[in-house]
């Protein structure tokens, strides 16, 4: 990586020049209107830098870098929005910030009611702000190959416009009874469609509730700032302070929502409806595999279950054999070696039993010996 050192110097110098000019402009006129904005500059310069580094970085590092870049971009977008809305407003700072936050609240309330958020002024940085809905999307994409297609018009519209529920008439169409030779496969496809619609409804409900929580968070930020302003206690000394306050308040409001009964029900419906779609999709694929005389998932499951049961039986048998072998070895050992000295109360009984056993064995052996001698003598006599 030593080759990159001159590049890094160049990059730092370029940064210096940009920020000096940007700083001058903000001092003179507030937010500069021409030239690249900080977020764009940040993104572009880092993209270039990253391209030069990529051959030498591992996948893990690339992932962390992507997350850092995306958060950095949010941070710079936020800075820009913040400056646009507060620059030159030292006198009525709180009013300017409130106005900014109100416009965002308006946008999120619109989303929650299914109206376009663009009716209100929504800041760009909200697009880069990772919400619980985005985390859900990421999770759903990772477990369901069908998810990408199902979310059309829902996630795209997450922050800026409303989503329209599927018309009732169309839903009724999917509920029409299937007839004819292909009725079974028709029924399966109709079911899949209904399940997709169920999932989309669950997702809309989750998204609406999330938008309300976001609006509440914005309200909570307004309350915090108002409290600071009125009490004169506490102040924010940096842009980073604004960001940290933002995260703290959002996290608090979200935690309250996440611990509510409402969230429990919404989350349950979201997971269950996605799983139902996926299960029906699996079934359709399985049906096709059977038709092609290929092993299906359900057949493999059946086989695996049998193998597992055999393994369990095997372990049990092995354990029983080990136990019996151990007992046998003990018994054989007891037959060969003299009994150990009595150390417990139970020992004398065992000793007595051993003596009796030995006596019996001796007696039997004597009887057998005597019988053999008699038999030999009789044979001689016969001869």
């Amino acid at each position: 990586m030593s080759d990159n050192a001159p590049w890094a110097d160049f990059w730092v110098n370029a940064q210096q020049q940009f920020w000096d000019s940007w700083s001058d402009a903000t001092l003179k006129n507030g937010m500069p209107t021409d030239g690249p904005n900080p977020a764009e500059f940040f993104q572009n310069s880092l993209d270039q830098w990253w391209k030069s580094m990529q051959p030498e970085t591992t996948g893990e590092l690339a992932d962390v870098y992507d997350k850092m870049l995306s958060t950095g971009r949010t941070y710079f977008e936020m800075a820009e929005e913040f400056l646009q809305n507060t620059a030159g407003a030292e006198e009525n700072q709180l009013d300017s910030i409130n106005q900014w936050l109100e416009s965002m609240k308006c946008g999120f309330m619109n989303i929650s009611e299914g109206k376009p958020a663009t009716d209100c002024e929504m800041p760009e940085f909200i697009d880069y702000w990772t919400s619980p809905v985005d985390t859900w999307k990421q999770m759903a994409d990772s477990i369901s190959p069908m998810h990408e297609g199902m979310q059309e018009g829902i996630f795209d519209a997450h922050k800026k416009s409303a989503t329209t529920p599927m018309p009732e008439q169309l839903m009724q169409l999917f509920a029409l009874p299937a007839v004819g030779f292909y009725r079974e496969s028709q029924e399966e496809l109709q079911l899949l469609t209904r399940l997709v619609v169920d999932y989309q409804q669950a997702l809309r409900a989750f998204k609406a509730a999330d938008a309300i929580t976001t609006a509440k968070s914005l309200g909570a930020i307004q309350d915090r700032l108002k409290e600071m302003h009125e009490s004169g206690e506490g102040s924010i000394e940096s842009l980073r302070g604004v960001y940290d306050l933002w995260v703290e308040v959002f996290e608090e409001t979200y935690a309250e929502f996440a611990m509510s009964d409402e969230y429990q029900v919404l989350y349950g419906k979201l997971v269950n409806s996605l799983m139902a779609v996926q299960k029906q999709g699996n079934k359709l694929i399985d049906d096709q595999l059977v038709k092609m005389n290929l092993p299906s998932r359900s057949e493999l499951d059946g086989l695996e279950k049998r193998v597992y049961q055999m393994r369990r039986d095997n372990f049990k048998l092995r354990s029983t054999i080990d136990e019996l072998t151990e007992r046998l070895e003990k018994l054989e050992g007891a037959g060969k070696a003299p009994a150990p000295k009595a150390t417990t109360k139970a020992a004398p009984v065992a000793k007595k039993a051993a003596v009796k056993k030995k006596a019996t064995v001796k007696k039997k052996a004597t009887v057998k010996k005597k019988a053999a001698v008699k038999k030999k003598a009789a044979a001689k006599r016969g001869a």
């Binding site: 730092v12 940007w22 937010m31 940040f42 030498e56 870098y65 950095g72 924010i236 996926q278």
Partner: protein
Amino acid sequence: MMNFRPDQIAEELYDFNRKLGSGLQSMSEVGEISTGVTPYDVVYEEDNLRLVRYKADEGTKQNKVPMLIVYALVNRPYMADIQENRSTVKGLLDSGQDVYLIDWGFPDRCDRFLTLDDYINGYINRCVDVIRKESGQDAINLLGICQGGAFSLCYSAMHPHKVKNLVTMVTPVDFKTEDNMLSKWVQDVDIDLCVDTLGNIPGDMLNLTFLQQKPYQLTGQKYLSLVDILDNPSALKNFLRMEKWIFDSPDQAGEAYRQFVKDFFQHNKLVEGGLKIGDHEVDLKNTTMPILNVYADQDHLVPPDASKALAKLTGSKDYTEFNFAGGHIGIYVSGKAQKTVPPTIGEWLDKRS
């Protein structure tokens, strides 16, 4: 209220970019992120599982009763041995314990039908037997971590004669305390449908569920703060090591996951009773051996009350609690934890072994 001017913001952003620029250089030079530092021997293997025995420094006087660490299935166990100066395993070795650990490996599709019975009365029991045989001890010390702690409790209740002392670390017992977010979320989830649909439960799904507990901190703020440590190679490496661990999550064997979520999270059977693992009834009153219950008072994954519930349920007459002032992860990796947690466990065990 907001005491800064636009030019200060520009300065702050420049400073941020400067740190990023010079720090990215060190990021590219960070090299391989190694985890798991203490040397060990593999003493037993079965399927994906490996039972390892850690090597103590020469001359360390060891407790004659060996200790088996049972880690959770949901993450990789190298968290307990993440780096040289932050290793619970090393701390336990230094405190004179003879440490074994079960590395569950990565379950694959072939493990879909592994049940809790297979894990607890199968794998754990066979590992315990291997150690008993190797050490010549009738009973060994068991240390269960998080979900592995719940498994260890069940095991100790079913096979009390094989467990000399039990240590539970950040272990959930009451899964329905009011502050348990994970438990709240899972109550309305149809687990049968999930397992029947997905087979094994993907590790990514669990990861993102954990992230969703504090989405703004864990998916955003954390990465912004990373910029502040980019110029510190050691702190950067620690960050990346943790990051690797967080996202290095094995899939969960379907059947075991089904039973764990239904019986523990949804029906809270360790508290309510009625838990059955294979042919065994599990009653915590049968955990009659000495117990040390270690919990973290800022644990957001296993709230302290979830762990402390054990006090009223165990049949042990020698029950001790140890409160660590920190969180669920800090209890293994923080500097404070290194000084307090392993020595406390070691001392407690030495008095009873």
